[in-house]
Amino acid sequence: MNQHPSSVLAGPVVEEEVHLTLIELCRVCRVPEEQVLDWVGEGVLEPTGGSPAEWRFAGAALRRTRQATRLARDLEINTSGIALALDLLDEIEALRAQLRRVAGGGR
């Protein structure tokens, strides 16, 4: 069912145009504040601003927080494990990107 048959929806690109507060990030990713505080403490997320009330998360934190949330929930990984897993996944992604740059590199 299409509620807006004639209009074309448009919206900002989160990573380029949006900064999120702690409350917004928790709402969007459906994750409790304490969890995000833990992840910031562990360096998984790096907001700007001094106190949690002033924190601003770059748009890219959305993807990272969702990834962390899924891994924590599905595989029951604790905070330091999440930090390690995301660092390793970043490293694997960087290596995959390097592979893609050479001729015939697999996707």
């Binding site: 459906r30 748009g59 599905d74 897993a85 001729a103 590199g105």
Partner: protein, 317 residues
Amino acid sequence: MKFKDYYETLGVERAASQDEIKKAYRKLARKYHPDVSKLPDAEARFKEVNEANEVLQDPEKRAAYDQMGANYRAGQEFQGPPPGWDAGFEFRGRGDERGFGTAGDFDASEFFETLFGRHARQARGQARGAHRASGEDHHAKVLIDLEDAYRGAQRSISLRMPVLDAQGHVTLEERRLDVNIPKGIRAGQHLRLAGQGGPGVGGAPAGDLFLEIDFNPHPRYRVDGRDVYLDLPLAPWEAALGATVSVPTPAGSVELTVPPGSSAGRKLRLRGKGIPSAQPGDLYAVLAIALPPADSATAREAYAAFGRAFPSFDPRR
């Protein structure tokens, strides 16, 4: 509907202990978790593994499944359970969030639902006696073509969204949206569509819809952030003597000057021809040397003459 052998899915014997099942599940869940695995069918396999675990980790469900499934093999046509098959068992479906899905819900197969019923999906933000609550934010993935990111595009997407019916049951409803894909968007980025998420309660605003963008695999281009790579085959004489060749880019063909003495694997950069934006990416042509086939007397003679012209050339030194 095919019968599903949950033991086979987890790779355990029918006599496996609960401990062995848990261990096998954990191992496969890590292996196929869609955030970890890049296998094209990782998400589907992860769901299968979760479904198998959902049944086998629960002693009651496992016992009922065993009793019903003793005479079935995986893939066999399944007629549905005999009446009263679950008499005497008490199913305690897990109400907590599990599994990989847009709403974090457990995404069960038809086979599972025939046996154990629709998983109790709680519409979050609805219950809890709240009089006024903002709608929840929804997430979905959208596949676009690389060309869409070069030009901007309008895409029709369909989403399956959980909605509450009058009786308070959750059903999945197909919803079609026309979305503007802005020029310059990259894989992994999100579009935020305000007010397109779940409905609010008591006059509160609806949630937002977040669309994660990914590119369809392209037969010609590889994408790395804003940069785009393609393989550019050259004839040996083009690579050796230099040439001006036409390179197809997602925005149309451009002329590229290949300098003399170019070797295979060399990357020639077309500045600013990657994904466009305020800081556009670059397009890289990765050179490859293609040899013409030696399939005629003339061709063989040409190769022989080629060889005679370089008596001291040793490619292995």
